[in-house]
């Protein structure tokens, strides 16, 4: 059976040439970039090349890129590193309610050492209002962190406007751009942020290759005490193959951005328009226009997400869901709840995220396969029976 993979936000396949770029660094070019001998310097050059590519992707300088093992580490490093280094200025953090768990839980961890957090609410499209961020700022606020794009609902946040509001009060701003970078244009200068997280596995790079952009002159307390790697801010021998793959993916993303984004947007819209025509009682999640080009998330009423995922998987489609049953913790997505939807609705969460090789035929095949899946599950659903009864009255 042909598999149609529509779960970009979980993992992307490696882009063309990325694996080939990485392979030598598992083999003959095994050197440690910190070594002075030729083997070491060969690896150091590869890391420097990757750093240049990553910096160029987001319009940063090479010295502003700190490689990390993933988006989660980059977010932790930003939150804890910036908050703790600036503790003397204050101990208040402002985050949006829809941040990734690596941001929310890093803040929770900081609360144990005396920090307090204000969560800024979002509207029904998961959009953060800069005015709400402004309202949340206090004299003792040291850091604002609002994501650039939300992977669960696709919404792109007004980060540049939020930076303006925070900068007027002298507050540092971090943005989690893990879902955005490599998929939409990201320019750290235009945004004006002090720190930005990005990860190659969200744009056809390998898992384990990620980075934190840290604006020159910004103080940061390292999470890992170790050697002098990454300017002493992230100790530990560099993961050279992953960094090389990350760099290769960044180069590809920069070159393909405009074409890829236009193609993805057209396919995404084909799905956003086609699916509600095929099945009724289905709601688009997230903002219709301000959204990632590859993301189309829905709430399908009267059915549960995991049951949809299993059914679709049996028909060859890979998707994702934010329903409570899908999560190991049996808890509905905090993003969906923050948007103000009730539990029954968010249980019907279904997220499709397209990859570079997705075709119009794939989208059409999904739209065709979808109605019988939903019909079958709705026929089993007491909520749907209740709804029909109410309607018949």
């Amino acid at each position: 059976m042909k598999r149609i993979y529509l779960d970009h936000i979980a993992a992307t396949p490696l882009g063309p040439g990325v694996l080939e770029a990485m392979l030598p660094y598992f083999g003959e070019r095994f050197g440690n970039p910190q070594s002075l001998h030729s083997e070491g310097q060969e690896a150091a050059e590869a890391v420097a090349g990757a750093r240049e590519n990553v910096a160029r992707l987001i319009n940063a300088s090479e010295s502003e890129i700190l490689f990390t093992a993933g988006g989660t580490e980059a977010n932790n490093l930003a939150l804890k590193g910036l908050a703790l280094a600036n503790r003397a200025k204050g101990t208040h953090l402002v985050l949006s309610a829809v941040e990734h768990s690596s941001v929310l839980n890093a803040a929770k961890s900081l609360e144990k050492s005396g920090f307090t957090t204000t969560l800024v609410p979002v509207d029904q499209d998961a959009l953060v209002d800069p005015a709400e961020v402004e309202k949340a700022l206090r004299k003792e606020t040291v850091l604002v962190s609002v994501m650039l794009a939300n992977s669960e609902v696709g919404t792109i946040e007004p980060v540049a406007e939020i930076v303006k509001v925070a900068k007027a009060r002298g507050v540092l701003v971090h943005t989690d751009a893990v879902a955005a970078a490599g998929n939409i244009p990201v320019d750290v200068r235009a945004l004006g942020v002090d720190a930005l997280s990005l990860a190659g596995d969200q744009f056809y790079g390998p898992k384990g290759g990620a980075a934190l952009f840290l604006k020159k002159g910004t103080r940061l307390l390292p999470l890992l005490d170790g050697g002098i790697q990454e300017g002493g801010r992230r100790g530990g021998t560099e993961n050279v193959p992953a960094i090389v793959g990350f760099g290769a993916a960044a180069e590809l993303a920069a070159a393909a951005m405009a074409e890829r984004s236009a193609r993805m947007t057209a396919l995404r819209d084909r799905l956003i328009e086609g699916l509600p025509r095929a099945v009724d009682h289905i709601i688009l999640s997230g903002h219709r226009e301000r959204r990632l080009p590859h993301q189309a998330g829905f709430f399908v009423r009267f059915v549960e997400g995991e049951a949809m995922l299993l059914s679709l998987d049996m028909k060859g489609f890979a998707a994702s869901s934010g329903s409570a049953c899908t999560s190991k913790a049996l808890k509905a997505s905090h993003v969906h709840l923050a948007m103000g939807f009730d539990h029954a609705t968010v249980q019907g969460s279904l997220v499709f995220s397209l990859i570079d090789t997705t075709t119009a035929e794939d989208i059409d095949a999904l739209i065709e396969a979808f109605p019988p899946v939903i019909d079958r599950l709705r026929k089993m659903s007491p909520l749907y029976t209740e709804f029909l009864k109410e309607k018949g009255r």
Binding site: F302, V303, E304, G305, E306, A307, L310, M314, S323, A324, C325, T326, K328, A329, L330, K331, A332, G340, D342, H343, A344, Q347, K379, M380, S381, P382, L383, Y384, T385
Partner: protein, 200 residues
């Protein structure tokens, strides 16, 4: 795959799906907060379950469990049906992932409630359906403060689990006491913290 072949078979081809408009007993458990909701309909003839139908809103495990419960109970006496335990259902399905065990509890509960509703009606009761649940459904948009504490069974932290159905560490089914707000094991008849009776 996280599920056994048997679970996937019952999910893909569930037995006895539907409703019985002239049911002798109806039982409903769960609500969308916990992710699952099941309604069981039973027809009783000569003290045996002559027909069973169910509807389930929930995950693959919840649907498979409902189907298995209906299959295990069909044609059995009421006493036999009441003796179907959650453990037996999970066993018949070849096991369930740890964090899905609470789904199997819901299945047997819904069946038992339907039988109880039949007995209640036979004794002159007028309730058309017996309803049980882990939680009362929440009001829409109702903001609830996050509760903290630890699981009464494994001591794992329950921090931030304001819509908790089961401990995320030991997967014990939990219920929030309506009197004191603390979590206690769902199987208990009374809250182990304040002694208040727990509705079933």
């Amino acid at each position: 795959m996280i599920y056994t072949d048997k679970v996937m078979d019952h999910f893909a081809n569930p037995r006895n799906v539907g409703t019985l408009p002239d049911a002798d007993g109806v039982g409903q458990v769960g609500n969308p907060v916990c992710g699952d909701m099941m309604t069981f309909y039973v027809k009783v003839h000569d003290g045996k379950l002559a027909d069973i139908k169910f509807q389930t809103f929930g995950c693959g495990a919840a649907i498979a469990v409902s189907s298995m419960v209906s299959e295990m109970a069909l044609g059995k006496t009421l006493a036999e049906a009441m003796a179907i335990t959650n453990e037996k259902v999970a066993e018949e399905l070849g096991g369930l992932p740890k964090n899905k065990m609470h789904c199997s509890n819901l299945g047997a509960d819904a069946l038992h409630l339907a039988v109880r509703n039949y007995r209640d009606r036979a004794a002159g009761g007028t309730a058309k359906m017996a309803v049980g649940g882990e939680h009362e459904p929440e009001g829409e948009g109702e903001a609830e403060g996050e509760k903290t504490g630890s699981c009464p069974y494994c001591e794992g932290p329950l921090e931030g689990f304001e819509e908790l159905c089961a401990c995320k560490h030991c997967h014990t089914d939990l219920v929030e006491c309506p009197a004191c707000g603390k979590y206690t094991k769902k199987a208990e008849a009374a809250c182990t913290h304040c002694g208040a009776a727990l509705s079933k």
